[in-house]
Symmetry: C2
Subunit: 269 residues, 2 copies
């Protein structure tokens, strides 16, 4: 699995809850985080480097645990990978379509919303469905700063971003960035109890389980999976933040890999 | 000159105001922006790559137009450069020390404040001077999102960061990040008329002029200087934002350079 930084660990937590026996190699590209404010070309270049690093570990599947990379780079990642690639956008879109019959809201980074990937994935799953997508550029830095849903500044920023959705009252709203589940409580309160929040990470975790089982690749032991992490920035900082994002699951190891070495990485035994 | 992104153009504007005849090559590392949330080791690695790219253009001087890179990497940049290197921290610190006699406040990124670079530079210029440094991680994304000082969210965030300085009442506060001059109006209003705001970019521009004149390197024509920009991300987006950050001065050209090619760049004639 890879992500632009630490946010994808919310997806790791969902996968480990569903399939505790699977071993996971996770790459967080913290040296170049965030991806969500960058151009599609740059995101594609970084995502392919991230993929090449993961492939050097000979995985049976690659999970793109980053909505921005899924939105901008899924085609090039699929065509560059010899193993199946699961993204977080299509499972999230399908989960939303199945959950409600009315309009669907999407919260995401600038790049994710501008790409139109959620709009296309929802259209594919339920043609003609109305979609309202809102870019929320400040939410990633807010979560990374350690602020939570009780912080008055967070509530102010959320009110600003959610105004349009509060008016449109969609049946479901997709948390289209791996950082947003950490603000799910506040977002849910502001949108009200009639709106179903869709965690794209949980939807992706179900997809991962389904695909592995269908292909006969699932590791069926109920627990014992190892979580090995790599980061392109400071491993100590990564390890410190990892527990919060991973829902309490600590990585079994965090190692540094330079961005320059991602494509040429040869994993040690 | 280089910066982690577009913010350094506020420094370009100050330099072009003081020395309109100088030609400037500016590199904005927008593919890896921001530097301010990353580790010293990563910032040093990126800054040295940025320097090598600039050196391929055979400049007479290099300006580190980024407080975070100045704070984390000035020693390694100076030891790696055959030409004089001007940073934004030491000139800003000296300007503050000369402007007031009491305590000095500093606003900066996480990495700048954690490095202690302003604290050391102020101590060197005025031993024993009291310094109060506040990390403001959300201000860069706020400015990049296009919000200004009239935005209620910006005022909320500023109130939160400035609380300590409002209580301590320093005589001068250094805007220790190239993005912050765009919020100078709001910061000045919240701190009150007795506080002198120090723009680290203006201080650096004066230093650049002094050093060039002292070394007999100044281009004395009053105007006609060319501003050539390079960015590691989307040049169209860079060009669009450049005018706002550059105080109305448009670049004479914006070209793309990949981060992988920074160290091996051979400029065309």
């Amino acid at each position: 699995m890879f992500d632009s930084g630490i946010g994808g660990l919310t997806v790791v937590a969902e996968i480990m809850r569903a399939m505790g026996g699977e071993d996971i190699v996770y790459l967080g590209d913290s040296a170049r985080v965030p991806y969500g404010i960058k151009s599609p070309q740059t995101i594609q270049r970084f995502a392919v480097q991230d993929l090449k690093f993961l492939l050097s570990h000979r995985p049976k599947m690659v999970v793109v645990a980053c909505n921005t990379a899924s939105a901008a780079a899924i085609e090039i990642l699929e065509s560059s990978s010899p193993v199946v690639v699961v993204d977080v956008i299509r499972p999230g879109a399908r989960a939303a379509v199945e959950a409600v019959s009315g309009p669907i809201g999407v919260l995401g980074t600038e790049a994710t919303v501008a790409s139109g990937a959620y709009q296309r994935a929802i259209e594919a799953a339920s043609p003609g469905r109305e979609v309202l997508a809102v870019a929320c550029p400040l939410l990633v830095p807010i979560v990374e700063e350690g602020r939570d849903g009780d912080d008055p500044i967070v509530l102010h920023v959320l009110c600003d971003y959610l105004r349009e959705l509060q008016r449109a009252r969609p049946g479901a709203v997709i948390l289209g960035c791996t950082h947003y589940p950490l603000l799910a409580g506040a977002i849910g309160k502001l949108l009200g109890p009639r709106v179903t929040l869709i965690n794209s990470g949980s939807a992706a975790a179900r997809e991962v389980a389904d695909v592995l089982k269908k292909k006969g690749l699932a590791n069926l032991r109920p627990q014992g999976g190892v979580l090995r992490c790599f980061t392109t920035d400071n491993p100590q900082r990564f390890a410190r933040l990892a527990e919060r994002f991973g829902g309490g699951r600590k990585p079994d190891g965090v190692d540094y890999v330079a961005t320059d070495e991602l494509e040429a990485h040869v994993p040690q035994k």
